[in-house]
Symmetry: C2
Subunit: 741 residues, 2 copies
């Protein structure tokens, strides 16, 4: 199929879920009512680190309307720990101790939320406080209290990346730069907090949840409760944003345990403050030492990365591993030594968040690139060009070659921003930064495409619609492959009892990996339709043309539905096409399937009296391979950049005395429409070279990475204020400006 | 695969739905609660035939708690007629007239059933009564009121079967017998009356219903409401018996219309009296004229069959067509002329019922066979043997050859009953009768088999579990083909949003047709597992053995789950196998896929003082090809025979003045355990020659057919009382005995 033959793919069709969403008819987990459902609430630890001496639920149990109370002692013979196989450190409810403020200690279910809340107030828990650690320096200090006995120095996980000889590299360098950068704890803030409904009955366990890994939590629940995958049913309707906060089991196993205790369906709807006590992004301290030649050639890079992973491992080790390459930037560096540490603290567990480990490390590396350029007196764009990897070069030893043209991406944003130097004629600051990542994009998706006997088409694919537009993209692929109008295609919600397996929604994988499975499933259905037509028309397979839901050859033609009816003896019927994306899709499944390329360029004005920064212009570019739905791609990229605006200017979860002090949207500000840059553009680079359908590759994560360093660089070039800690609050900027004065 | 290699198939394993059913946890439609659901009720016609002059709902509308009122005028732009393409005569709610007592005229929905009932009482409908007809003789009489203007003489449908020259046949006959037999209207009486819940929202139409044709009603609803199949979702949990009463749209389209009007989910749970006003079996009058040679050779048969089909065509034309062969019996008759008439009357519509048209026609033919034998003075078994078709002979011109050995079947029951003549030494009467039918068994089933990454297996197949044990049979097939323990297999409930297409549950088709699709789907999954193993073991495909969920070749072995994990890059995964049963399964899809063979032999004692008949011994034999689950097959055959006991002794819907006077289980008696014959046996004939999996063929319908004529024959031989009208009530028997004295 030639590129210009596409009828539906590559077109910004109307979103298939658009009408329902704008008319308020779209259903989310919180809209689901399960018969007999009662409301669940969690009593949470008020202490950052304590032993639980006793739990007295007697008074709560007497409360009329109370249905069930669950503590660790009620868990029975299940295996109540979550986590990766080698690091199952997270009990679904606190056992004998609590490790962070907000950890669930008791779960109650009652006829309504008020009664459940009231019951929480009647439970007496006796704690013995123990010393706690909140920050990484506290946690790794000598004599720090240990959070898990198996983790000396509170190191949850560590990894390193070595290439060449970094000492030799520094010896050969003309200039050496050493800087430490800090990136705050931030919260994903998706519109919908975590909501889960569960019931346990003779059919097994059923869970409705706002989760993007329905098959992952099926697996986790099966492991916790000791049953087969086929006895756990996870139903996910539309999800109101996720960004990694809904990847894998969060509150689901606990709600299942509570529902089992209650012997009826239980719903837990978390508030935003509760959601902020459920998961967050890793804060980071990055110590970066870089050696360069006087001509601007990078020679050596040494880095130590410390990620604050909170009380439990969660996906912290994966995030930590990913920082090793992400701290490098997309640059050619002969000598590298990077160490990354994932550190337990008495805080909420940190986990996956849009571009895991990307913004934290790019904040360090891309800020330092401009520090170096400033010191060397070279233009930061030219400095980058000098060291930029070319297509086909490897970022790390034995890594996959870079599959994108970074020069083209850089040119696109600098041209659009009108780059003629880091300070404009009228004094505005300009900055540029890269986000180049291996998003992981794990393989393993399956899909089935069903052509019904009226020619309508149903797609079963486990990708979750989180607002990213996946249902539209997948429907486009099916419509394109089957040559039917888009309106004929319906993608069903995911119900693991029926929907075939998908690894997860996230890691920029859906369009590429699931999209491939969907394309193959549609092609399988197409092949079967062609065979039916060939048989019924008594024409060669190759002579059949499919168009607009009709098969034709010579003067014979039949709608798909008629082909199916005839094939099935005029009794109805259905064609089922099946597609897999498996290990065969990538030469080395352990290496990235594609590189995700984001790049941002910015122009800012700084109010020197208040320290407020105004983003006059922001240009983001993403290498998408092929934009199956250009407007959605642009929306993704703009959304990612706006999320970057959040951690650049506002977002930081503040702990004081072990407590989060800003766990509400009043105290924790996220960007609003007022924060949209005056000029804002997303550029899509389409080289049709991705491994996904039609050459697509993943996108939507890269855009968040460059924002903070690009803006900090613009600030530094235009004012001389170099800030190494986010967010760039007016106060912090003002203080930095004052120091310069 | 050799027959004796089977591990699971052919074994009477524990029913997969057994535990849930005996512990009361099994869910039926009436157990489902849909959020926001209100209760619907129908106001029904009190007249057998009338014009609707006006409907005044004003008072009902003022009732607090009333949610919606629906009359024909509210139907809007839908196409509110049900029926086959060429005979769409049944409005989903009465339009300008009513055609039988019980026809829905107004539908209401209210917050609870009491309020809905109260609302019905406040609706004033003004009718103008018109003359009505209840019986066939009334309906076809000259000057009878016409029920549908397009059907002169109230003939809904007629068909004929001609072979040879029947006049010549009679001319060559030594004896000619002419008899008229009557078969009553009977009700299916399944434990669960028709229950439907419907909702209409932005996702489309969703229906939960106790229906055995979920894909059929999807089609009907899509046609009525003018939407695509993919926008209609039909969910069917377990069904509590059907026997044809739940084949195709019954109350579903009306409940959908009511739910649309109510703008919320509506549930309608019918009572038994309401279910009896929804559907019934065709009563029949069969006039049979048979010519024989003095030596007992059948020469000619002429018959007129009149079926009372009620107010609407429903499946009446199909039933009528089927009587043409069923009246023949399994005998070699050179000259045949049969005419069958489907006649409209002002009664409840008649439709499919276990062995459509079988019991009615066998009642006539198999009774007359003994009348002839008595007259000729020959043993009725010997008389039958003389005329019995041999395997490979055709029942009707251009019909499919008989695929069973009827002599073997006859021998099996006569041996078991100890046949040495139609009257035993102690004076008990003995009778025998055949039920040989072409059950129709339409093609078109699809199934998918999913092997999950822990080796558990999920089957999606649209066959409905109505108590017949289909889930167990289908699970056995999957377990057998995939070489996994039965416990690993889960067959899901049918949800047309996800489950692939199936034509219907009924017509003895599920084990044969869907079973074939399931077998092919499992074989497809098996092939894929073998391929994974061959690839991963680096062994030839042929070298792989599958056993107990493990693939092995030489010294290499792996559980299915491990094969799948590896194939999908250790990220989970799933194998999907797909199977179709389509027109390719039968040489001529219009001809029967198999013959269903039932035969019964009985010994009875008659109380000459009361007319009561006691069944001392009943032997039923069914040719099942291969019994996949012997106990279930026996249970099916015994259940069918007991249903035959019902219409033999008790069942008859009585109309007086246009009204059903016995529409409750107090007045309408069905058999109970007290009616089980003193000795009762089901014999399974297994020649492994059916078109279904492992040589299975359909069964479960044949057993109902021979009961009535076998018992009537035993009565006649032992007492001389020949009764040609059912049921054989004590009064009717006593009167007949009196006449003989």
């Amino acid at each position: 199929m030639k590129v210009d033959d596409f009828k539906i793919v590559g077109t910004s069709v109307r979103r298939v879920d658009g009408l329902d969403k704008v008319t308020g008819q779209a259903k989310y987990t919180g809209d689901i009512i399960v018969p007999g459902m009662v409301e669940g609430k969690f009593l949470r630890s008020p202490y950052a680190h304590a032993r639980i001496l006793s739990i007295d639920t007697a008074e709560a149990e007497r409360l009329p309307g109370l249905v069930a109370i669950l503590t660790a002692k009620d868990l029975g013979d299940i295996h109540p720990y979550l986590g990766r196989k080698d690091r199952k450190d997270q009990p679904i409810i606190a056992m004998d101790r609590v490790l962070y403020v907000g950890q669930p200690v008791v779960a109650v279910a009652a006829v309504d939320a008020f009664t459940a809340e009231e019951a929480l107030g009647k439970i007496r828990v006796e704690y013995e406080e123990t010393p706690f650690v909140i920050s990484v320096p506290e946690a790794i200090a000598d004599g720090a209290p240990l959070i898990h006995s198996f983790a000396p120095n509170n190191i949850c996980f560590q990894d390193e990346l070595i290439k060449g000889d970094v000492d030799k590299g520094f010896a050969e360098s003309d200039e050496i730069f050493e800087d430490t950068f800090e990136f705050p704890m931030v919260y994903h803030y998706s519109m919908e907090p975590h909501t889960t409904i569960a019931k346990v009955d003779s059919e097994g366990i059923t869970v409705w949840s706002s989760n993007t890994h329905p098959f992952g939590i099926r697996q986790e629940i099966a492991e916790v409760f000791g049953c087969s995958l086929s006895k756990v049913r996870v139903i996910v309707p539309l999800v109101g944003g996720a960004y990694g906060s809904k990847s894998g089991g969060k509150i689901e196993p606990l709600v299942v345990a509570l529902a089992r205790q209650a012997a009826t369906a239980v719903r837990v709807r978390q508030s935003v403050p509760e959601a902020m006590m459920t998961v967050r992004r890793h804060s980071a301290i990055c110590k970066v030492k870089t050696g360069v030649k006087r001509d601007g050639t990078l020679v050596a890079k040494q880095a130590e990365i410390y990620l604050n992973t909170g009380a439990f491992a969660e996906t912290g080790p994966i995030v930590t591993g990913r920082t090793l390459t992400r701290i490098l930037g997309p640059y050619r560096i002969p000598h590298i030594k990077v160490k990354a540490y994932c550190v337990y603290t008495n805080t909420v567990s940190a986990a996956s968040f849009r571009s895991i480990g990307g913004p934290q490390t790019a904040w360090a590396t891309e800020s330092q690139m401009d520090i170096i350029a400033q010191k060397l007196g070279v233009d930061p764009v030219q400095f980058r060009r000098k060291n930029l990897l070319r297509r086909g070069e490897e970022l790390k030893p034995k890594g996959n070659p870079l599959d994108a043209d970074l020069f083209k991406a850089l040119d696109s944003v600098t041209q659009k921003i009108g780059w003629d130097g880091p300070v404009s004629k009228n004094g505005s600051g300009r900055g540029v930064a890269f986000g180049v990542t291996d998003p992981g994009a794990p393989l393993a998706s399956t899909a089935t495409v069903h052509v019904l006997s009226d020619g309508s088409v149903v797609l079963l694919a486990g990708t979750i619609e989180v607002g990213q537009g996946a249902r539209t993209i997948m429907s486009q692929i099916v419509a394109e492959e089957l040559s039917v109008p888009l309106e004929r295609v319906t993608m069903r919600s995911t119900d693991t009892a029926y929907t075939p397996f998908d690894r997860s929604t996230g890691s920029s994988r859906s369009t590429t990996v699931m999209g491939k499975a969907v394309q193959l499933a549609a092609q399988d259905a197409r092949r079967q339709l062609l065979e039916l037509a060939a048989e019924q028309f008594e024409a060669p397979f190759e002579a059949i043309a499919l168009r607009d839901g009709v098969a034709a050859a010579g003067n014979k033609a039949a709608a798909y539905g008629d082909l199916i009816h005839r094939h099935f003896a005029m009794q109805g019927g259905e064609i089922v096409g099946c597609g897999y994306a498996h290990s065969g899709m990538a030469p080395k499944p352990s290496n990235p399937l594609f590189w995700e390329i984001g790049i941002g360029a910015v122009e800012v004005e700084v109010d020197r009296e208040t320290g407020a920064i105004r983003v006059k212009k922001y240009v983001s570019a993403a290498d998408v391979g092929k934009a199956l739905h250009p407007i959605q791609c642009e929306g993704q990229d703009e959304g990612a950049a706006m999320m970057g605006v959040g951690h650049t200017f506002y977002e930081s979860i503040i702990y004081e005395g072990g407590q989060i002090v800003n766990s509400s949207l009043i105290d924790y500000k996220v960007p609003t429409f007022d924060d949209v840059p005056d000029e804002f553009e997303a550029i899509l680079i389409e080289d049709q070279n991705g491994p996904g359908p039609y050459g697509a590759k993943g996108m939507g994560e890269g855009g968040i990475i460059p924002v903070a360093p690009a803006i900090a660089n613009a600030l530094a070039w235009s004012t001389g204020a170099r800030i190494k800690e986010l967010p760039l609050t007016p106060e912090r900027v003002w203080r930095s400006l004052q120091k310069r004065v």
